[in-house]
């Protein structure tokens, strides 16, 4: 019986990982932290909602258009917010993304209200029994999609020309520039991909937690997952998120209710104290 809790925890963890992935993508190339990552998911979800609920567009088409929209949202964010602050410190960009998060939440509230809405799922609503284990199509679907996305990103970064240029930029902007890579274009592309990841996250998360302007709160857990797994590492982001999700689900079985909410954070602090770069993080050398 415990197994389906673990599977559910992994699925929840994948949700955290998706947010962590988007955060890490942007951090890796630009060293900026995007506080509005969760809210980008939220807006993408509402774009889909407007299409299928208000404009009666068929759901699959609405989903596709929403993903296109999320790509665009990433680009818009980069253009509007980060370019003007390109010489600004990381604190400032963090505050800019914080402002963006607030703006997205209130603007969405004004357009769609702060109510909660059901959201159609990509996966059928069925229970599956595999031997002694009972689970459901939804959880497996989330795990499968996240793995697929991870694989796609891995292949993209490792083997494609664009992906390699992105990696070059994240290692050293100077060197990349010298190699003839348009750093500005790479930044824009990174944000676009991050936006797309946010959009995919919305399609997977919203059916479970329902669509509302509060969807972005998952970003806090995304941060935790990303750091646990190693900030700056893409697989680390996923591993960290999954561990967090599983921990949260197992905690009620082993810990009294008073302290179980502290467990994930305590583990986080513990891991960081023992291994500061997180489970899979990289030690980045810094220039003086």
């Amino acid at each position: 019986m415990l197994i389906h809790i673990v599977i559910s925890g992994i699925a929840t963890g994948c949700i955290y990982s998706l947010v962590a992935l988007g955060l890490t993508l942007i951090y890796k190339s630009t060293e900026h932290v995007n506080f509005a990552q969760g809210d980008m998911s939220m807006v993408s979800g509402f774009i889909a909602f407007t299409l299928f609920a208000w404009l009666k567009v068929p759901v699959p088409l609405a989903f596709f258009l929403a993903l296109v929209g999320s790509l665009g949202l990433g680009l818009v964010m980069e253009f509007l917010l980060v370019k003007p602050a390109i010489r600004a410190s990381h604190f400032n960009v963090f505050i800019i993304t914080l402002g963006a998060s607030i703006v997205m939440q209130s603007a969405s509230g004004l357009i769609w209200t702060h109510n909660e809405f059901p959201f159609p799922s990509l996966f059928p609503n069925k229970s599956l029994v595999l031997g002694p284990v009972r689970t459901d199509a939804g959880s497996l679907g989330i795990i499968f999609s996240t793995s697929l996305l991870m694989l796609a990103l891995f292949l993209f970064f490792k083997y494609s020309k664009t992906g390699t240029s992105l990696r070059a930029v994240s290692q050293s902007q100077q060197a990349a520039l010298l190699m003839g890579i348009s750093v500005k274009r790479c930044f824009a592309l990174t944000w676009a991909i991050s936006g797309l990841v946010a959009g995919i996250a919305a399609l997977l998360i919203a059916p479970v937690v329902f669509l509302s302007t509060a969807l972005g709160f998952v970003v806090v857990n995304g941060f935790a997952g990303a750091i646990l797994g190693g900030w700056g590492s893409l697989p680390g982001a996923v591993v960290g998120g999954v561990i967090l999700g599983v921990l949260e689900n197992i905690a009620p079985f082993y810990f009294p209710s008073e302290i179980r909410n502290i467990i994930p954070f305590a583990v986080l602090v513990g891991v960081l104290v023992i291994r500061p770069s997180g489970i899979m993080g990289e030690e980045r050398r810094r220039r003086v």
Binding site: F91, I95, V103, L268, L272, P276
Partner: protein, 331 residues
């Protein structure tokens, strides 16, 4: 030359101070209450600046220290009601400072966003403890805070509290200024510019980083005690993540690395919240836009912008001086 300006600023400063302390007699209760809260936020901003502005570490859970100071004061004042405020305040500060020091020790090995995450976790843990340890904190029902007293005089109104909160705040501002202008302050600044370089100058990184954290926690703890007196009733909901983020916004708006920046950041944030209040559901939207615009056009905060403006004016003056042909009466 110097003697003249000393005399001049005393002439301006003393009446200003006198007027300031007469404020409760002429202002409405509400404005006095706002000024009291403003003083609390100024202290938090100065505290946070020690960590973020001076040594460059991010703390995203600073509301936790505010909570520690507030709950310490509320609990002690309830259980040991004979303790006067001038004992409670430093004790609250030291309690928070001690926790800050203990937290600082393992943290100082971490960098940038790791510290942000650990402090975020710390904030969540303190909030959770305040909620769960209900035998001590009354959990979600909250704690009533007994009024501060001095002998038989009880600070049971906003106007009376003004005379407790403001002098304490001014004292702590002066102390902060002193700290900053000493070797300690310069060491903090050096660490923020570049940790590696600071080390080469012989600055003991771990000692200074941990002290910065402890000092910051102390200030925020005292602010928490004053906060408890001003609010008269505290619940865990007052010390949330969005509170911590408001604090960060304060010092980024005001400008990091300067006491003046801390003060003006607190003032601006409070002023914005007051001004936008009547917008009800549009308030947060305007606030978010204001934050973005601010950060794009004044990236070093208001104090930074003022500094550059003053520097630009000076440079222009110098240039016009140089351009003036000699023999026009200038030595």
């Amino acid at each position: 030359m110097r003697r003249v300006s000393f005399f001049r600023w005393t002439l301006i400063l003393v009446p200003c101070l006198v007027l300031f302390f007469m404020a409760p007699l002429v202002l409405s209760k509400y404005l006095v209450f706002i000024l009291n809260l403003l003083a609390v936020y100024v202290l938090v901003a100065i505290g946070l600046n020690f960590v973020m502005g001076y040594t460059g570490q991010i703390s995203t859970g600073h509301a936790a220290f505010l909570a520690l100071g507030a709950y310490f004061t509320a609990i002690c004042a309830t259980r040991a009601s004979s303790l006067p405020f001038y004992v409670l305040l430093p004790m609250a500060g030291c309690f928070a400072g001690l926790v800050g020091f203990l937290l600082g020790i393992p943290i100082l090995r971490l960098r940038g966003f790791y510290i942000a995450m650990v402090t975020l976790a710390f904030g969540a843990v303190v909030s959770e403890i305040a909620l769960q340890w209900s035998s001590l904190t009354h959990g979600d029902d909250g704690l009533r805070v007994p009024s501060a007293f001095l002998g038989t005089f009880v600070f049971d109104s906003d106007k009376r509290l003004f005379y407790l909160i403001q002098p304490v705040t001014i004292l702590l501002i002066l102390a902060a200024r002193n700290i900053v202008s000493t070797r300690v302050g310069r060491a903090f600044l050096a660490i923020r510019q570049s940790e590696t370089a600071a080390q080469t100058l012989g600055i003991n990184l771990s000692w200074y980083k941990t002290s910065a954290f402890a000092l910051s926690a102390f200030y925020t703890g005292v602010a928490g005690a004053l906060f408890a007196y001003a609010m008269t009733h505290i619940t865990p909901d007052s010390f949330s993540l969005s509170t911590s983020i408001d604090f960060i916004a304060m010092i980024v708006i005001g400008g990091m690395g300067s006491i003046f920046g801390s003060i003006i950041g607190a003032v601006i944030l409070t002023a914005i919240q007051q001004l936008l209040g009547s917008l009800a559901e549009v308030q947060m939207l305007v606030f978010g836009i204001a934050l973005i615009v601010f950060m794009i056009f004044m990236p070093r905060g208001i104090s930074g912008a003022l500094r550059s403006w003053r520097a630009a004016v000076k440079a222009r003056k110098k240039q016009s001086l140089e351009n003036t042909p000699k023999g026009e009466g200038y030595p």
